[in-house]
Subunit: 216 residues, 2 copies
DNA sequence: GTTGCGATGTATCGGGCCGATACATCGGGG
DNA sequence: CCCCGATGTATCGGCCCGATACATCGCAAC
């Protein structure tokens, strides 16, 4: 799962570990609290061994900090890595439908074809519906056997399931009718910007230095 | 985490692995899909080594199936185990507030004193509020930087957080005013039964054979 | 009747992921 | 000047999961 996420982020731009982690948190933070370094670094090593990414010493652009000294290993995706990413994105196994797996796949939906998007959304819906049915069974059949707190827990879980199914159904409807993911929330007013950022596949240019984010 | 759950269930009645797993699924199913045997059996071994539970060969009561043959190891909690359970129930570390930890603790709230219940509910609320603030930051500050799908994901996550905070607040209010966990759902009509089941601490009697559950 | 299938039941193995921990560097405030 | 917090890389022990491999029982189909 992390493999897919890392490949996806490195496809946008090369990064070093620390940066990568921050991006992971903001893009997938909903499903994973932190993405521990104890996971990240071994995974990076694994991806490197497999040949999906390469390690380039302290890059030349050197935007703001670190004059030049120790490490700061920058990782970059390879051609094989891009292929691997495409494969992982397209194929949907059972692990695609659990919380973490679905979150990662969904986060890259703008780079996924509509057929796959629909397949994943429907698979996820099925998964949640099963969980929902299980909870309904417990609540109707075993109600007397459980204490008030356990029941309240099940009820809350059931509520969350029903809500997520509705959410998925809305997304599926939108997909089928060709619309974008709605964005119905009234608080924000992003004019459906999206900005496809059509970057040419083999783009290895110096990269715009990226608008420095959250640097105070 | 699993340790606490197993100890809690075995405090109600001795069980063998398969049975234990089913109970785990129905009581904690909201937070853990299955509780793999690859986790359960090693954990049981660990608890046994620590002296919290003991292994008793194929019990005499032998309710319906299995005339008598191979295994069916029945596990039983020890006096040390009960002490351990009480300790784990009362103390609340950071791991008490993540999804899994909170679920397990909550499931045993009817055996937890009110002070601890409040401490845990408030800790959990704080945790979710932090996650919520993080999502709000992303949605307001980094909105333009993210694609429509990622935004939708964050929005859905934010919604879930807000909903859970409200749920927790309701529970906290109820705790403070001394009421039971509400049970506001109109579909079920359990008359706040709860049934404290005040079992004497050192109860080692033959146990009522348990009303055979879900055997068709 | 026997054959075979699905539920019950116990157990291990490899691997992903996490929290804790240990380093080292840099910029800035006391 | 010195320490603190952010940045940055890395490892270790341990929990937990999915896959897999067994063996037994009840039952239904053939």
């Amino acid at each position: 799962m992390l493999e897919l996420a890392i490949l996806g982020l490195l496809q946008e731009t090369p990064m070093h570990g620390y940066e990568l982690r921050k991006e992971l948190v903001t893009k997938l933070g909903t499903f994973r609290a932190a993405i521990s370094y104890g996971t990240l670094y071994p995974t990076l090593k694994r991806l490197q061994t497999a040949g999906w990414i390469t390690e380039t010493e302290s890059d030349p652009s050197m935007i703001p900090p670190m004059t030049s000294k120790r490490g700061r290993v920058v990782y970059k995706i390879t051609a094989d890595g891009k292929e691997r990413f495409a494969d992982l994105l397209a194929q949907a196994g059972p692990e695609t439908y659990d919380d973490a797996g679905f979150g990662v796949h969904f986060a890259f939906f703008s780079r996924t074809d509509r057929a796959t998007r629909l397949r994943i959304l429907e698979g996820r819906r099925r998964r949640i519906e099963e969980r929902r049915e299980g909870l309904r069974d417990v609540l109707s059949r075993a109600a007397g056997r459980l204490d008030a707190y356990t029941l309240e827990l099940q009820r809350h879980g059931l509520d969350a399931c029903e809500r997520e199914v509705r959410w998925l159904e809305e997304l599926i409807t939108n997909e089928r009718s060709g619309r974008a993911p709605a964005g119905s929330a009234g608080t924000l007013d992003i004019p459906a910007a999206e900005q496809p950022r059509e970057r040419a596949a083999e783009d290895a240019s110096p990269e715009t230095p990226r608008p420095q984010q959250d640097r105070p």
